[in-house]
Amino acid sequence: MSGAWLLDGVLLLAVPAIALASLLSRRILPALAAFVAYGLLLALVWMRLGAPDVALTEAAVGGGVTGVLLIGAAARLRMPEAEAPPGWPLRLLTALLSLGITAGLAVAVLALPEPAPSLAPQAAAQLAATQLGNPVAGVLLAFRAIDTLLEAVVLVIAVIGIWGMAPDGAWGGRPGPEQLRLAEGPVVLLAMLLPPIGIVFGIYLAWVGADAPGGAFQGGSILAAMWILAWLAGLVRPPRIDSLALRLLVVAGPALFMLVGLAGFVVADGFMAYPAAWTKPVILLVEAALTLSIAVALCLLVAGWPMRRARA
Protein backbone atom coordinates (compact mmCIF):
# COMPACT_ATOMS: atom_id res chain seq x y z
CA MET A 1 0.00 0.00 0.00
CA SER A 2 2.91 2.34 0.77
CA GLY A 3 4.00 2.11 -2.87
CA ALA A 4 0.63 3.43 -4.02
CA TRP A 5 0.87 6.34 -1.56
CA LEU A 6 4.32 7.16 -2.89
CA LEU A 7 2.99 7.15 -6.49
CA ASP A 8 0.04 9.37 -5.48
CA GLY A 9 2.38 11.77 -3.71
CA VAL A 10 4.71 12.03 -6.69
CA LEU A 11 1.82 12.56 -9.11
CA LEU A 12 0.14 15.17 -6.91
CA LEU A 13 3.38 17.19 -6.88
CA ALA A 14 4.60 16.51 -10.41
CA VAL A 15 1.40 17.30 -12.35
CA PRO A 16 0.96 20.90 -11.09
CA ALA A 17 4.73 21.43 -11.38
CA ILE A 18 4.79 20.36 -15.02
CA ALA A 19 1.65 22.43 -15.75
CA LEU A 20 3.38 25.45 -14.22
CA ALA A 21 6.52 24.74 -16.23
CA SER A 22 4.41 24.59 -19.39
CA LEU A 23 2.82 27.98 -18.56
CA LEU A 24 5.97 29.79 -17.48
CA SER A 25 8.57 28.47 -19.92
CA ARG A 26 9.94 31.39 -21.91
CA ARG A 27 10.31 29.52 -25.17
CA ILE A 28 7.44 27.71 -26.82
CA LEU A 29 9.04 24.32 -27.56
CA PRO A 30 9.96 23.52 -23.93
CA ALA A 31 6.43 24.62 -22.99
CA LEU A 32 4.99 22.14 -25.49
CA ALA A 33 7.33 19.37 -24.35
CA ALA A 34 6.10 19.98 -20.80
CA PHE A 35 2.52 19.77 -22.10
CA VAL A 36 3.14 16.32 -23.63
CA ALA A 37 4.63 15.18 -20.31
CA TYR A 38 1.56 16.66 -18.58
CA GLY A 39 -0.68 14.46 -20.77
CA LEU A 40 1.32 11.33 -19.96
CA LEU A 41 1.32 12.09 -16.20
CA LEU A 42 -2.44 12.69 -16.35
CA ALA A 43 -2.78 9.26 -17.95
CA LEU A 44 -1.08 7.82 -14.84
CA VAL A 45 -3.51 9.79 -12.66
CA TRP A 46 -6.39 8.22 -14.60
CA MET A 47 -4.94 4.76 -13.85
CA ARG A 48 -4.89 5.69 -10.16
CA LEU A 49 -8.55 6.71 -10.46
CA GLY A 50 -9.44 3.27 -11.80
CA ALA A 51 -10.18 4.48 -15.34
CA PRO A 52 -7.86 2.64 -17.78
CA ASP A 53 -10.10 3.51 -20.75
CA VAL A 54 -9.70 7.23 -20.05
CA ALA A 55 -5.97 6.78 -19.37
CA LEU A 56 -5.49 5.31 -22.85
CA THR A 57 -7.47 8.15 -24.45
CA GLU A 58 -5.61 10.84 -22.50
CA ALA A 59 -2.20 9.41 -23.37
CA ALA A 60 -3.02 8.94 -27.06
CA VAL A 61 -5.18 12.01 -27.80
CA GLY A 62 -4.62 14.45 -24.92
CA GLY A 63 -0.85 14.07 -24.83
CA GLY A 64 0.22 12.48 -28.10
CA VAL A 65 -1.88 13.74 -31.00
CA THR A 66 -2.54 17.18 -29.44
CA GLY A 67 1.20 17.49 -28.77
CA VAL A 68 2.06 16.72 -32.40
CA LEU A 69 -0.52 19.25 -33.57
CA LEU A 70 0.80 22.03 -31.32
CA ILE A 71 4.49 21.32 -32.00
CA GLY A 72 3.81 21.25 -35.75
CA ALA A 73 2.05 24.60 -35.48
CA ALA A 74 4.85 26.10 -33.37
CA ALA A 75 7.36 25.14 -36.07
CA ARG A 76 5.32 26.95 -38.74
CA LEU A 77 4.14 29.99 -36.79
CA ARG A 78 6.24 33.10 -36.58
CA MET A 79 6.08 34.14 -33.01
CA PRO A 80 4.80 37.70 -32.69
CA GLU A 81 7.10 40.40 -31.38
CA ALA A 82 7.22 40.23 -27.63
CA GLU A 83 4.50 42.50 -26.36
CA ALA A 84 4.84 44.33 -23.10
CA PRO A 85 3.63 41.93 -20.40
CA PRO A 86 0.27 42.86 -18.94
CA GLY A 87 0.53 45.27 -16.04
CA TRP A 88 0.45 44.17 -12.45
CA PRO A 89 -3.18 45.16 -11.77
CA LEU A 90 -4.40 42.81 -14.51
CA ARG A 91 -2.09 40.04 -13.36
CA LEU A 92 -3.21 40.44 -9.77
CA LEU A 93 -6.87 40.46 -10.78
CA THR A 94 -6.41 37.32 -12.91
CA ALA A 95 -4.51 35.57 -10.14
CA LEU A 96 -7.31 36.40 -7.69
CA LEU A 97 -9.94 35.17 -10.15
CA SER A 98 -8.05 31.90 -10.75
CA LEU A 99 -7.44 31.41 -7.04
CA GLY A 100 -11.11 32.06 -6.32
CA ILE A 101 -12.23 29.47 -8.87
CA THR A 102 -9.70 26.94 -7.58
CA ALA A 103 -10.87 27.56 -4.01
CA GLY A 104 -14.52 27.21 -5.03
CA LEU A 105 -13.85 23.93 -6.83
CA ALA A 106 -11.78 22.67 -3.89
CA VAL A 107 -14.63 23.40 -1.48
CA ALA A 108 -17.04 21.66 -3.85
CA VAL A 109 -14.77 18.61 -4.06
CA LEU A 110 -14.46 18.39 -0.27
CA ALA A 111 -18.22 18.89 0.22
CA LEU A 112 -19.32 16.15 -2.18
CA PRO A 113 -22.21 14.11 -0.77
CA GLU A 114 -21.68 10.76 0.95
CA PRO A 115 -22.44 8.20 -0.33
CA ALA A 116 -21.54 9.43 -3.79
CA PRO A 117 -24.34 9.22 -6.37
CA SER A 118 -23.51 6.60 -8.95
CA LEU A 119 -24.96 5.01 -12.04
CA ALA A 120 -22.60 2.03 -11.68
CA PRO A 121 -25.32 -0.32 -10.29
CA GLN A 122 -27.69 0.48 -13.18
CA ALA A 123 -24.87 0.05 -15.70
CA ALA A 124 -23.95 -3.29 -14.10
CA ALA A 125 -27.57 -4.47 -14.16
CA GLN A 126 -28.01 -3.64 -17.85
CA LEU A 127 -24.53 -4.65 -19.07
CA ALA A 128 -25.50 -8.31 -19.52
CA ALA A 129 -28.14 -7.26 -22.07
CA THR A 130 -25.45 -5.71 -24.28
CA GLN A 131 -23.22 -8.81 -24.03
CA LEU A 132 -20.27 -6.47 -23.52
CA GLY A 133 -17.69 -7.00 -20.78
CA ASN A 134 -16.42 -3.41 -20.58
CA PRO A 135 -18.90 -1.11 -18.81
CA VAL A 136 -17.39 2.00 -20.45
CA ALA A 137 -18.00 0.48 -23.90
CA GLY A 138 -21.54 -0.29 -22.77
CA VAL A 139 -22.10 3.37 -21.88
CA LEU A 140 -20.46 4.67 -25.07
CA LEU A 141 -22.20 2.38 -27.52
CA ALA A 142 -25.47 1.44 -25.86
CA PHE A 143 -26.68 3.42 -22.84
CA ARG A 144 -25.43 6.83 -23.98
CA ALA A 145 -24.93 6.02 -27.66
CA ILE A 146 -26.34 9.41 -28.70
CA ASP A 147 -23.39 11.21 -27.04
CA THR A 148 -20.95 9.04 -28.95
CA LEU A 149 -22.80 9.65 -32.21
CA LEU A 150 -22.77 13.42 -31.70
CA GLU A 151 -19.09 13.28 -30.80
CA ALA A 152 -18.29 11.37 -34.02
CA VAL A 153 -20.28 14.03 -35.91
CA VAL A 154 -18.28 16.79 -34.17
CA LEU A 155 -15.09 15.29 -35.65
CA VAL A 156 -16.62 15.39 -39.15
CA ILE A 157 -17.72 19.02 -38.65
CA ALA A 158 -14.24 19.96 -37.42
CA VAL A 159 -12.71 18.39 -40.55
CA ILE A 160 -15.14 20.38 -42.74
CA GLY A 161 -14.32 23.55 -40.79
CA ILE A 162 -10.59 23.09 -41.32
CA TRP A 163 -10.97 22.26 -45.01
CA GLY A 164 -13.09 25.38 -45.33
CA MET A 165 -10.04 27.46 -44.46
CA ALA A 166 -8.46 26.58 -47.82
CA PRO A 167 -7.33 29.73 -49.65
CA ASP A 168 -8.97 30.57 -52.97
CA GLY A 169 -7.90 28.14 -55.63
CA ALA A 170 -6.42 25.57 -53.25
CA TRP A 171 -9.71 23.79 -52.62
CA GLY A 172 -9.53 20.11 -53.47
CA GLY A 173 -5.76 19.81 -53.11
CA ARG A 174 -3.68 17.85 -50.63
CA PRO A 175 -3.95 19.17 -47.07
CA GLY A 176 -0.98 20.44 -45.12
CA PRO A 177 2.38 21.92 -46.02
CA GLU A 178 4.11 20.52 -49.07
CA GLN A 179 7.54 20.16 -47.48
CA LEU A 180 7.85 18.86 -43.95
CA ARG A 181 10.94 19.68 -41.96
CA LEU A 182 11.27 16.28 -40.36
CA ALA A 183 11.73 14.32 -43.57
CA GLU A 184 15.19 13.02 -42.62
CA GLY A 185 17.06 11.58 -39.68
CA PRO A 186 15.99 9.04 -37.08
CA VAL A 187 12.27 9.84 -37.45
CA VAL A 188 12.29 8.13 -40.87
CA LEU A 189 13.68 4.91 -39.37
CA LEU A 190 11.12 5.11 -36.55
CA ALA A 191 8.35 5.71 -39.07
CA MET A 192 9.32 2.51 -40.87
CA LEU A 193 9.73 0.36 -37.75
CA LEU A 194 6.80 1.47 -35.62
CA PRO A 195 3.69 1.40 -37.86
CA PRO A 196 3.56 -2.40 -38.37
CA ILE A 197 3.47 -2.83 -34.59
CA GLY A 198 1.26 0.21 -34.01
CA ILE A 199 -1.34 -0.78 -36.59
CA VAL A 200 -1.72 -4.25 -35.03
CA PHE A 201 -1.90 -2.67 -31.57
CA GLY A 202 -4.48 -0.09 -32.69
CA ILE A 203 -6.74 -2.74 -34.21
CA TYR A 204 -6.27 -4.90 -31.12
CA LEU A 205 -7.27 -2.01 -28.83
CA ALA A 206 -10.40 -1.33 -30.89
CA TRP A 207 -11.34 -5.01 -30.95
CA VAL A 208 -10.66 -5.76 -27.28
CA GLY A 209 -12.59 -2.62 -26.22
CA ALA A 210 -15.83 -4.59 -26.02
CA ASP A 211 -14.58 -6.60 -23.05
CA ALA A 212 -11.48 -4.84 -21.69
CA PRO A 213 -10.04 -1.32 -21.61
CA GLY A 214 -9.80 0.02 -25.15
CA GLY A 215 -12.28 0.90 -27.86
CA ALA A 216 -12.89 2.90 -31.02
CA PHE A 217 -11.35 6.17 -29.76
CA GLN A 218 -8.23 4.62 -28.31
CA GLY A 219 -7.64 2.23 -31.23
CA GLY A 220 -8.47 4.94 -33.77
CA SER A 221 -6.03 7.40 -32.25
CA ILE A 222 -3.19 4.84 -32.25
CA LEU A 223 -3.91 4.13 -35.94
CA ALA A 224 -3.97 7.87 -36.63
CA ALA A 225 -0.66 8.32 -34.78
CA MET A 226 0.97 5.74 -37.05
CA TRP A 227 -0.12 7.57 -40.19
CA ILE A 228 0.93 10.94 -38.74
CA LEU A 229 4.38 9.51 -37.96
CA ALA A 230 4.78 8.24 -41.52
CA TRP A 231 3.53 11.62 -42.82
CA LEU A 232 6.02 13.57 -40.69
CA ALA A 233 8.79 11.34 -42.00
CA GLY A 234 7.76 12.12 -45.57
CA LEU A 235 6.87 8.49 -46.35
CA VAL A 236 3.20 9.08 -47.18
CA ARG A 237 1.25 12.00 -48.61
CA PRO A 238 -2.29 12.87 -47.60
CA PRO A 239 -4.86 12.25 -50.35
CA ARG A 240 -6.53 15.18 -52.11
CA ILE A 241 -9.50 16.41 -50.14
CA ASP A 242 -11.79 16.14 -53.15
CA SER A 243 -11.20 12.37 -53.16
CA LEU A 244 -14.55 10.62 -52.83
CA ALA A 245 -12.97 7.62 -51.08
CA LEU A 246 -11.47 9.90 -48.40
CA ARG A 247 -14.78 11.66 -47.81
CA LEU A 248 -16.62 8.34 -47.55
CA LEU A 249 -14.06 7.11 -45.00
CA VAL A 250 -14.58 10.23 -42.86
CA VAL A 251 -18.37 9.85 -42.72
CA ALA A 252 -18.61 6.01 -42.76
CA GLY A 253 -18.64 5.60 -38.98
CA PRO A 254 -21.15 8.32 -38.06
CA ALA A 255 -23.34 7.42 -41.08
CA LEU A 256 -23.51 3.73 -40.17
CA PHE A 257 -24.11 4.63 -36.52
CA MET A 258 -26.99 6.92 -37.56
CA LEU A 259 -28.49 4.28 -39.86
CA VAL A 260 -28.35 1.70 -37.08
CA GLY A 261 -29.96 4.26 -34.76
CA LEU A 262 -32.78 4.93 -37.21
CA ALA A 263 -33.25 1.20 -37.84
CA GLY A 264 -34.00 0.97 -34.12
CA PHE A 265 -37.39 2.57 -34.82
CA VAL A 266 -38.32 -0.38 -37.03
CA VAL A 267 -36.68 -3.43 -35.49
CA ALA A 268 -36.40 -2.40 -31.82
CA ASP A 269 -37.92 -0.03 -29.26
CA GLY A 270 -36.89 3.31 -30.77
CA PHE A 271 -33.99 5.53 -31.83
CA MET A 272 -30.61 3.95 -31.02
CA ALA A 273 -32.21 0.82 -29.57
CA TYR A 274 -30.72 -2.44 -30.75
CA PRO A 275 -32.66 -5.68 -31.38
CA ALA A 276 -31.89 -7.93 -28.41
CA ALA A 277 -30.45 -10.91 -30.30
CA TRP A 278 -28.19 -8.74 -32.47
CA THR A 279 -26.87 -6.30 -29.88
CA LYS A 280 -23.26 -7.41 -29.80
CA PRO A 281 -22.68 -7.95 -33.55
CA VAL A 282 -24.28 -4.57 -34.30
CA ILE A 283 -22.14 -2.85 -31.64
CA LEU A 284 -18.97 -4.47 -33.01
CA LEU A 285 -19.84 -3.43 -36.56
CA VAL A 286 -20.54 0.18 -35.51
CA GLU A 287 -17.37 0.22 -33.43
CA ALA A 288 -15.26 -1.01 -36.37
CA ALA A 289 -16.64 1.68 -38.69
CA LEU A 290 -16.21 4.33 -35.99
CA THR A 291 -12.58 3.30 -35.41
CA LEU A 292 -11.81 3.77 -39.09
CA SER A 293 -13.59 7.13 -39.37
CA ILE A 294 -12.08 8.45 -36.14
CA ALA A 295 -8.59 7.46 -37.28
CA VAL A 296 -9.02 9.20 -40.65
CA ALA A 297 -10.61 12.31 -39.06
CA LEU A 298 -7.79 12.66 -36.49
CA CYS A 299 -5.18 12.45 -39.28
CA LEU A 300 -7.01 15.13 -41.26
CA LEU A 301 -7.38 17.37 -38.20
CA VAL A 302 -3.60 17.29 -37.75
CA ALA A 303 -2.81 17.68 -41.48
CA GLY A 304 -4.90 20.84 -41.84
CA TRP A 305 -6.14 22.72 -44.90
CA PRO A 306 -4.83 22.55 -48.47
CA MET A 307 -2.23 25.27 -49.08
CA ARG A 308 -1.19 24.93 -52.69
CA ARG A 309 -3.27 25.60 -55.76
CA ALA A 310 -4.69 22.24 -56.77
CA ARG A 311 -3.63 20.83 -60.10
CA ALA A 312 -6.47 19.09 -61.84
Binding site: D8, L11, L12, P16, A19, S22, L23, I28, F35, G39, V45, R48, L49, G50, D53, V54, T57, E58, G62, T66, L69, L70, L77, E83, P85, P86, T94, A95, S98, I101, T102, A106, V109, L112, A116, S118, L119, A120, A123, A124, P135, V136, V139, L140, F143, R144, D147, T148, E151, V154, I157, A158, G161, I162, M165, P167, G215, L298, L301, M307
Partner: protein, 104 residues
Protein backbone atom coordinates in the same frame (compact mmCIF):
# COMPACT_ATOMS: atom_id res chain seq x y z
CA UNK B 1 -8.87 12.65 3.05
CA UNK B 2 -9.35 9.96 0.44
CA UNK B 3 -7.10 9.55 -2.58
CA UNK B 4 -9.98 10.59 -4.85
CA UNK B 5 -10.44 13.87 -2.94
CA UNK B 6 -6.70 14.59 -3.18
CA UNK B 7 -6.90 14.20 -6.96
CA UNK B 8 -10.01 16.38 -6.91
CA UNK B 9 -7.96 19.16 -5.31
CA UNK B 10 -5.32 18.58 -8.01
CA UNK B 11 -8.05 19.08 -10.62
CA UNK B 12 -9.08 22.36 -8.94
CA UNK B 13 -5.46 23.60 -8.98
CA UNK B 14 -5.07 22.70 -12.67
CA UNK B 15 -8.26 24.60 -13.57
CA UNK B 16 -6.89 27.69 -11.79
CA UNK B 17 -3.48 27.44 -13.49
CA UNK B 18 -5.04 26.91 -16.91
CA UNK B 19 -7.45 29.83 -16.47
CA UNK B 20 -4.61 32.14 -15.47
CA UNK B 21 -2.76 31.14 -18.64
CA UNK B 22 -5.78 31.52 -20.91
CA UNK B 23 -6.38 35.07 -19.66
CA UNK B 24 -2.81 36.35 -19.48
CA UNK B 25 -0.72 34.59 -22.14
CA UNK B 26 0.10 36.90 -25.02
CA UNK B 27 0.78 34.37 -27.78
CA UNK B 28 -2.37 32.71 -29.15
CA UNK B 29 -0.69 29.28 -29.35
CA UNK B 30 0.10 29.52 -25.64
CA UNK B 31 -3.51 30.39 -24.92
CA UNK B 32 -4.56 27.23 -26.74
CA UNK B 33 -2.02 25.32 -24.66
CA UNK B 34 -3.39 26.81 -21.44
CA UNK B 35 -6.93 25.97 -22.57
CA UNK B 36 -5.82 22.33 -22.79
CA UNK B 37 -4.26 22.49 -19.31
CA UNK B 38 -7.57 23.86 -18.02
CA UNK B 39 -9.50 21.09 -19.80
CA UNK B 40 -7.28 18.44 -18.22
CA UNK B 41 -8.26 19.76 -14.78
CA UNK B 42 -11.98 19.72 -15.58
CA UNK B 43 -11.78 16.16 -16.91
CA UNK B 44 -9.94 15.18 -13.75
CA UNK B 45 -12.84 16.51 -11.64
CA UNK B 46 -15.15 14.22 -13.65
CA UNK B 47 -12.75 11.35 -12.95
CA UNK B 48 -12.97 12.02 -9.23
CA UNK B 49 -16.78 11.88 -9.36
CA UNK B 50 -16.47 8.61 -11.28
CA UNK B 51 -14.03 7.18 -8.75
CA UNK B 52 -16.24 8.11 -5.81
CA UNK B 53 -19.13 6.36 -7.56
CA UNK B 54 -17.23 3.08 -7.74
CA UNK B 55 -19.53 0.19 -7.06
CA UNK B 56 -21.21 -2.91 -8.45
CA UNK B 57 -17.78 -4.46 -9.04
CA UNK B 58 -16.51 -1.54 -11.19
CA UNK B 59 -13.49 0.55 -10.24
CA UNK B 60 -15.44 3.71 -11.09
CA UNK B 61 -18.81 4.90 -12.35
CA UNK B 62 -18.58 4.11 -16.09
CA UNK B 63 -20.94 6.93 -17.13
CA UNK B 64 -18.70 9.94 -16.28
CA UNK B 65 -15.70 7.95 -17.53
CA UNK B 66 -17.34 7.51 -20.93
CA UNK B 67 -18.34 11.20 -21.03
CA UNK B 68 -14.72 12.19 -20.34
CA UNK B 69 -13.48 10.04 -23.25
CA UNK B 70 -15.95 11.88 -25.47
CA UNK B 71 -14.80 15.19 -23.96
CA UNK B 72 -11.10 14.55 -24.61
CA UNK B 73 -11.77 13.87 -28.28
CA UNK B 74 -14.03 16.93 -28.66
CA UNK B 75 -11.38 19.08 -26.92
CA UNK B 76 -8.87 17.82 -29.47
CA UNK B 77 -11.21 18.73 -32.35
CA UNK B 78 -11.64 22.26 -30.94
CA UNK B 79 -7.86 22.59 -30.45
CA UNK B 80 -7.20 21.50 -34.03
CA UNK B 81 -9.72 24.03 -35.35
CA UNK B 82 -8.13 26.83 -33.30
CA UNK B 83 -4.56 25.92 -34.30
CA UNK B 84 -5.40 25.80 -38.01
CA UNK B 85 -7.25 29.13 -37.79
CA UNK B 86 -4.05 30.57 -36.35
CA UNK B 87 -1.95 29.16 -39.19
CA UNK B 88 -4.47 30.40 -41.74
CA UNK B 89 -4.44 33.87 -40.18
CA UNK B 90 -0.68 34.05 -40.66
CA UNK B 91 -1.03 33.28 -44.37
CA UNK B 92 -3.85 35.82 -44.67
CA UNK B 93 -1.59 38.48 -43.13
CA UNK B 94 1.20 37.65 -45.59
CA UNK B 95 -1.05 37.99 -48.64
CA UNK B 96 -2.71 41.40 -48.62
CA UNK B 97 -6.34 41.35 -49.66
CA UNK B 98 -6.97 42.44 -53.28
CA UNK B 99 -8.32 45.99 -53.59
CA UNK B 100 -12.07 46.09 -53.50
CA UNK B 101 -13.76 46.71 -56.79
CA UNK B 102 -15.82 49.83 -56.84
CA UNK B 103 -19.49 48.95 -56.68
CA UNK B 104 -21.74 50.19 -59.40
Amino acid sequence: MSTASAYGLLGAVLVGLGLYGVVLQAEPLRRILAFNLLGGGIFLLFGVMARRGAGAGFSGDPVPQAIVITGIVVAFAATALAVHLLLRLQVARDVPAPPEEPRA
